[in-house]
């Protein structure tokens, strides 16, 4: 059965520096997949390759069998791939509601509409407001991004990705920066995602990883090092040596 999202021998080098080596990665429908590995292993690079931010040196990216490799970022989003960034990429001068509005409007194809005011699209406003409620952001809806603490901004980043109603959701260290008091908001949001969506999380927080993931991929130095269900990965001595250290999981 064709995976929802897969890569075939995906490679990327910057001159002599190889950041992705022959990656054969599969993300299944409805997956709850985590991508872990030491810093510099190439996890974010892989997401950048999957989303089209980086063009590969060799290899292909396929979505339900369709070759996306030549498609730019925006077109891949339209095919159903959404991601959050490791460092927030938000519209800092706009309000929280505006930020999510823009994402929802684009998804609904309303982003290019010139003749009706943005305020008249009650459907977009309602959906955006709903997303804010899901992430407990409705209290900040009218505030500008730069006025919010970083952790709340992170949640806006998630809200935007959710607003795109993707088939594949790639979250790059979503919990980073969110204070532990609020991390349950994130967890609830992820748990509440529709079952058909394939979700890939890059994380360093092992707690989160092992609670969320049904499958884990370990990357080291640009290549896939190990892959399997959580128990298998946790028990894998080599993985522990290279990454998890001697800490008990």
């Amino acid at each position: 059965m064709a995976a929802l999202l897969e890569t075939r021998q995906l490679c990327k080098s910057f001159g002599a520096l190889e950041v992705a080596r022959d990656i054969d990665f599969r993300l299944e429908r409805g997956a709850r997949h985590a991508l872990i590995g030491p810093n510099g292993a190439g996890k974010t690079t892989l997401v950048n390759l999957l989303t089209g931010v980086l063009p590969p040196s060799r290899g292909a990216v396929l979505l339900e069998g369709e070759d996306l490799t030549a498609l730019p970022q925006a077109k891949r989003v339209k095919r159903g791939i959404a991601r959050t960034f490791q460092i927030n990429q938000l519209f800092r001068g706009l309000t929280v509601l505006d930020n999510v509005y823009i994402a929802v409007a684009e998804r609904l194809g309303a982003g290019g509409s010139m003749f009706r005011p943005a305020g008249r699209r009650a459907d977009v406003i309602a959906e955006a407001s709903g997303l804010l409620e899901t992430l407990k952001l409705e209290g900040d809806a009218g505030r500008r991004i730069h006025e919010l603490p970083y952790g709340r901004q992170r949640l806006v980043e998630i809200a935007i990705a959710l607003g795109l109603k993707p088939r594949v959701l790639l979250l790059d260290e979503p919990a980073a920066g969110i204070p532990s008091a609020e991390s349950h908001i994130l967890l609830d949001a992820i748990a509440g995602l529709p079952k058909e969506i394939a979700v890939l999380i890059i994380e360093h927080d092992m707690d989160l990883v092992f609670r969320f993931a049904e499958r884990i991929t370990v990357m080291v130095s640009g290549a896939i090092f190990a892959e399997g269900p959580p128990a298998e990965i946790a028990g894998n001595r080599e993985v522990r040596a290279v990454y998890l250290g001697s800490a008990d999981v």
Partner: protein
């Protein structure tokens, strides 16, 4: 989906009401009409002012909202100006309203073509290329001197009466002023509509974070090219008004001076704020009218110092300062 409550509802309402016309938005138009009745000897100046506002408004679309920094916007102003001039002088086509349309079409087409090609680049390269495009047009106009009159321009153009009823009057500028004011109003309505539409909001998104816009699936380049073409068309209308109102056109309409001038006006007033063009043009042209005649070099010195100060301290122009003061006032009152 349940309706949002509390602050969420307030924010949703604010967004839904953002485009509603506020009472004070009538002020500039009332002032414009008042000028006609109370200061009839200043209508020539008033006409130039209205044209400057329209030109700055077009630049605001492209620079204030979409974030495209261009030093070559006079290319479109000049294109519109020369279209009307050449049609009148060589094709005997001097009906003003259709002239405006022709100018908008020509300038818009140039904007579309150059935008399509230039907006693949960014930063210094883009800035450079906008300068090159404008210089190219200026040189072409210079070269085609049988049609354009080169440095001397085309003086003594004649235009039919507006709607057949209101003749152009080079002495008191009465018809010109109201004509320009009406054209400004119409164009302003269009720009305002664009700014408050989802399209306009996506432009702000592109300006604020282009990577994020790509990452929400927006066709960024297409949006930029479209707004560039629309802005070019409006700049062309401003140029056409210039030629019609003053009955002449020359190479200065295509020059760096005019391009830099409109940039200064917009920054002074505050870009990305719809009314920055009004405030900036009024402030700049009044000051220029008063000071530049007497002491042109000192005026240049003053403008330079002003720009430095604005770049360092007041990036959002006069409206930005007013905004900040207003917010402080409200915060102080709320306590």
């Amino acid at each position: 989906m349940t309706a949002p409550a509390g602050p969420g509802l307030a924010a949703a309402r604010a967004l839904a009401d953002r485009h509603r016309v506020k009472w004070w938005e009538a002020a500039p138009w009332l002032a414009g009409v008042a000028l006609f009745f109370f200061l009839p000897s200043y209508l020539a100046f008033g006409t130039q002012l209205v044209i400057a506002i329209l030109f700055a408004l077009s630049l605001d679309l492209v620079m204030g909202y979409a974030g495209i920094v261009t030093l070559g916007h006079a290319a479109f102003f000049g294109a519109g100006a020369y279209t009307v001039g050449m049609l009148a002088a060589h094709a005997g086509w001097n009906e003003p309203l259709s002239g405006l349309v022709a100018a908008a079409l020509v300038a818009g087409a140039i904007g579309l073509a150059s935008g399509y090609v230039l907006l693949r680049t960014q930063g210094l390269t883009l800035l450079m290329l906008t300068l090159c495009t404008m210089a190219l047009l200026e040189e072409s106009a210079n070269m085609a001197h049988e049609y354009t009159g080169s440095f001397d321009g085309m003086p003594g153009l004649q235009f039919q009466a507006i709607l057949g009823l209101f003749p152009f009057d080079l002495l008191y500028y009465r018809s010109q002023y109201l004509y320009a004011l009406v054209v400004l109003f119409v164009c302003f309505v269009v720009v305002r509509m664009l700014v408050y539409s989802p399209f306009g909001q996506s432009l702000t998104g592109i300006r604020e974070n282009v990577l994020r816009m790509h990452a929400v699936g927006a066709p960024v380049r297409a949006r930029l090219v479209i707004v560039y073409a629309i802005s070019a068309a409006i700049a062309g209308v401003a140029g056409a008004l210039f030629t019609q109102a003053n009955a002449y056109v020359n190479l200065a309409t295509l020059g760096l001076d005019r391009a830099a001038g409109v940039l200064i006006i917009l920054i002074l007033g505050g870009y990305g704020r719809l009314y920055g063009a009004f405030v900036g043009a009024i402030a700049y042209m009044v000051l220029e009218h008063v000071l530049a005649r007497a002491y042109p070099t000192t005026w240049q010195l003053g403008v330079g110092l002003l720009l430095i100060a604005v770049a360092l301290y007041a990036r959002n122009g006069i409206l930005g300062i007013a905004d900040a003061l207003w917010r402080r006032l409200r915060a102080a009152v709320a306590r």
